[in-house]
């Protein structure tokens, strides 16, 4: 019961903070997202901007083609041409962060040392979660703009969108939960090993 209450309290605090600070958080993360998008494909380079719109700030991705892109039905995007290729709600990008942090900070620890180790392991896990959620979403949206047939074409084109579809149908919730469980386990495993070593010596 205490754990449930603690979880709800942390969710309230983090989701309110995330909502109020959406813009600065997303602007801070944008260069990292751009780097991940660029490293995941070679067709274009990404530039992300955060703009205010109805319903809250949005992340808009502009793509600059690195070579001429041949589209289905004979369309061509010339090399170095820039175009708006994807956008998403900024709060959408915060969902995996909130889930990850609620679990990491909501799960009890034996002592401060374990919490410190958990935070250290979270510092490794969180960028992985961030890198595999919003950038994948933006790449998927860009691919669905460039190759709209992908949603109902042959299996090769479908494969282009599979990671995006998987993430949007729940993968973006699964990943932070698994990463948080691993961070918690890492924190407690190191603490247990140290305790065992002290007992043996």
């Amino acid at each position: 019961m205490r754990l449930s209450f603690r979880g709800i309290l942390i969710w309230c605090a983090l989701s309110a903070a995330g909502f109020l600070l959406t813009r600065p958080i997303v602007e801070t993360l944008s260069p990292f997202f751009e780097g991940v998008v660029d490293s995941m494909q070679s067709d274009y380079t990404a530039f992300l901007s955060v703009i205010d719109a109805q319903g809250g700030p949005k992340i808009v991705m502009s793509c600059t083609a690195q070579r001429a892109l041949l589209l289905p039905h004979g369309g061509i995007v010339p090399a170095f041409a820039s175009f708006k290729c994807a956008w998403t709600d900024a709060v959408h990008a915060l969902v995996p962060i909130i889930i990850f942090l609620v679990v990491v900070f909501g799960w009890p620890t034996k002592n401060r040392r374990e919490m410190l180790r958990r935070i250290l392991s979270s510092a490794i896990a969180l960028p992985i979660v961030l890198g595999l959620t919003t950038p994948l979403l933006l790449i998927g949206l860009a691919n669905s703009t460039l190759y709209p047939e992908s949603f109902r074409a042959d299996s090769q084109l479908r494969a282009l969108l599979q990671p995006f579809v998987f993430m949007e149908l729940g993968g973006r919730w699964l990943l932070p939960l698994v990463a948080a469980a691993v961070s918690i386990r890492l924190g407690s495993a190191v603490a247990d090993d140290e305790k065992r070593a002290r007992t043996e010596s």
Binding site: S15, F19, V91, V95, W173, V178
Partner: protein, 181 residues
Amino acid sequence: MIFVVAQSDPPKKTTAGWGFAGAFAAFYCALYVGYSTIPDDFLREIVYYHGIVCPSKAIIDWLAPSEHVIGAHNILRSSATELRVVRGCDGAGFIFLMVAALLAFRTGWRRTLFGILGAFALMYILNQLRIVTIYFLNAHRPDWFTPAHVYFIPTFMIVAGAIYFVIWSAPTRDAPSIVAA
């Protein structure tokens, strides 16, 4: 005559271990693959219409008869707005997460079965409330639609599911030796 009381093995350690995280992800992926094979038409015409749209219409009619909402296929429509229930907005992701967690947490089949039934009930009720809430927000407070739809409600449902799992997995007198898979 001497009676020997057989002692059971001492309970194994209860830990949210590495195996649990792996099994959780594997069960989720299996459920996702199964879900991907269901045809869109079947979901739209049967599951969404009878399972989501009709109950949501009944709730909205009960709460606000003046909305005059109509349910057709996967759509809730009124003079104020139109809400489409599509793949991913049906609460399947939340249910899969909970079922995967319950299956990954190794315990007696009876407890797992009741856990899964309870998880279905909880997520179905929460999802109906979610659909009705976002219908009213879309109709009367459109500025709040996006934050509620993509941010507050999903994270709340994940937290609610996690709390259910924690309560369900807490050791009981009947099942003291629960071991994560």
